[in-house]
């Protein structure tokens, strides 16, 4: 009888259970910090290449930061007592802001502090919109490691919803490039537009999407 009564879980159990890791004498904090620093130096290099016109480096960078942003967004939501299912919306808003504000990054400065500042800003914005009292730990972003979260690419509701409100042209171009993975050239041929017009529609679509997400 007594065995069926579950032992109450206490908050400090986490502390108790995490101690064996520290007994490995590997100084895990130092290892984590070194790992984080190496990763951030790599980001800075990728971003420099991206700004110099290397689209593949830019794609790699965005892919590399996404799991870190996702882990941090989840951690921040959990801290605010929110369900983690909005994390992907926040990740997408951060990515859009990174893209549209990348000219404010100083190529002489490290990339990570710039990125995490945008991340915090978007997390705070989301929590405020939901009327939550905001307390964002600065380290939510700086310390996030991608291993904490399964590597799924969840789809987010808000970008998809706002996509539907864009003008037809911009929607078609985004659909073609994002969803069908067509190149700008192929998109231009398919929609009988010039490549320049496709580029303009793509950029305007992304900017409009960002504005709608911010103001809705």
């Amino acid at each position: 009888m007594a065995a069926s009564v579950a032992r109450p879980r206490l908050d400090h159990e986490f502390v108790i259970y995490s101690t064996p890791r520290n007994k490995l004498k590997e100084r895990p904090n130092c290892l984590v910090r070194a790992r984080v620093r190496g990763r951030e130096d790599e980001w800075t290099g990728l971003m420099r290449s991206a700004m110099a016109g290397d689209d593949a480096a830019y794609h790699r960078l965005l892919k590399a930061i996404t799991p870190v942003l996702r882990a941090a967004a989840r951690r921040g939501l959990a801290r605010a007592g929110q369900p983690p299912d909005q994390a992907e919306d926040i990740v997408q808003e951060i990515l859009l802001a990174v893209h549209l504000k990348r000219h404010t990054w100083d190529s002489e400065a490290p990339f990570a502090p710039w990125l995490f500042a945008i991340g915090r800003n978007k997390l705070i914005d989301t929590l405020r919109r939901r009327g939550k009292r905001v307390f964002v730990n600065i380290d939510d972003f700086a310390e996030a490691l991608p291993g904490e979260v399964p590597q799924e690419t969840a789809s987010a509701g808000e970008v998809a919803a706002q996509l539907g409100t864009l003008p037809q042209r911009q929607r078609d171009v985004l659909q073609s490039i994002a969803v069908e993975a067509a190149s700008i050239k192929d998109t231009a041929a398919k929609l009988s537009m010039s490549e320049g017009a496709v580029r303009v529609a793509l950029h305007r679509g992304l900017a409009a999407l960002t504005a709608k997400l911010r103001d809705h």
């Binding site: 830019y58 892919k63 996404t66 990515l95 990348r102 915090r120 969803v179 700008i184 793509l202």
Partner: protein, 212 residues
């Protein structure tokens, strides 16, 4: 749209290069300036005795004060247009006009007073000053806010307040060439009040329009 698809569309847009915030802010202020200058030329104009006034150090001091507000405010607002930037370490620049004014008030106090203190403080143009500086600030404020929208400030209200200081500093520079009240006491009182009003408007509007 899932996140991988969004990333693909962002990477495809990498060729789109935006100009730096400083370039956009400069252009926006240059576009706005003619409106303020037009207001100045229509309603105010340079004071009649400007040639003799230029020999008065307190006349020149007004420009030193207003420009020592406008230029640091531009520098700080550009700094704050970066998302990770903090005001810490930069705010002291805003003490430059305050320090200049304090020095000017001190040196005027040491001279034989031409007018009683209350007259120097109240001047003849206090009401014009309180209307003209905000009025000439408004086009510049709109320009500054437009320029800073191109940035990504972590605190929109603070960035908006800086835009207010930029525009008030520039408008006050124009106004200083019209106003015949040269006493630093007058400047410290009425220019400051007008600047505070514009700064408050900037912070209020900025908190709405400078979110990114």
């Amino acid at each position: 749209m899932d996140t991988d698809q969004l990333i693909r569309s962002l990477a495809a847009d990498n060729a789109n290069r935006a100009p730096r915030v400083g370039a956009v802010l400069t252009m926006a202020l240059l576009v706005a300036a003619p409106f303020s200058i037009l207001f100045f030329a229509t309603f105010l104009g340079v004071r009649a005795d400007v040639m003799s006034a230029m020999h008065n150090p307190f006349f020149d001091m007004k420009f030193a004060v207003t420009l020592s507000l406008a230029i640091p405010a531009i520098i700080i607002s550009l700094h704050l247009s970066r998302p990770e930037a903090l005001l810490r370490g930069w705010a002291w620049l805003l003490l430059l006009p305050v320090g200049l004014l304090a020095v000017a008030i001190g040196s005027e106090a040491m001279m034989a007073p031409a007018m009683p203190m209350t007259m120097r403080l109240m001047g003849r143009n206090s009401r014009v000053c309180l209307v003209a500086i905000p009025a000439m600030s408004l086009p510049l404020l709109a320009g500054a806010l437009f320029g800073l929208r191109h940035g990504a400030p972590s605190s929109p209200a603070l960035a908006g307040a800086l835009a207010g200081l930029v525009s008030a500093g520039l408008a006050a520079t124009l106004y200083a060439s019209h106003c015949t009240d040269d006493s630093p006491l007058f400047v410290a009182t009425w220019y400051t009040l007008a600047t505070a009003l514009v700064t408050a408007i900037g912070a209020l509007v900025g908190s709405k329009v400078l979110r990114y």
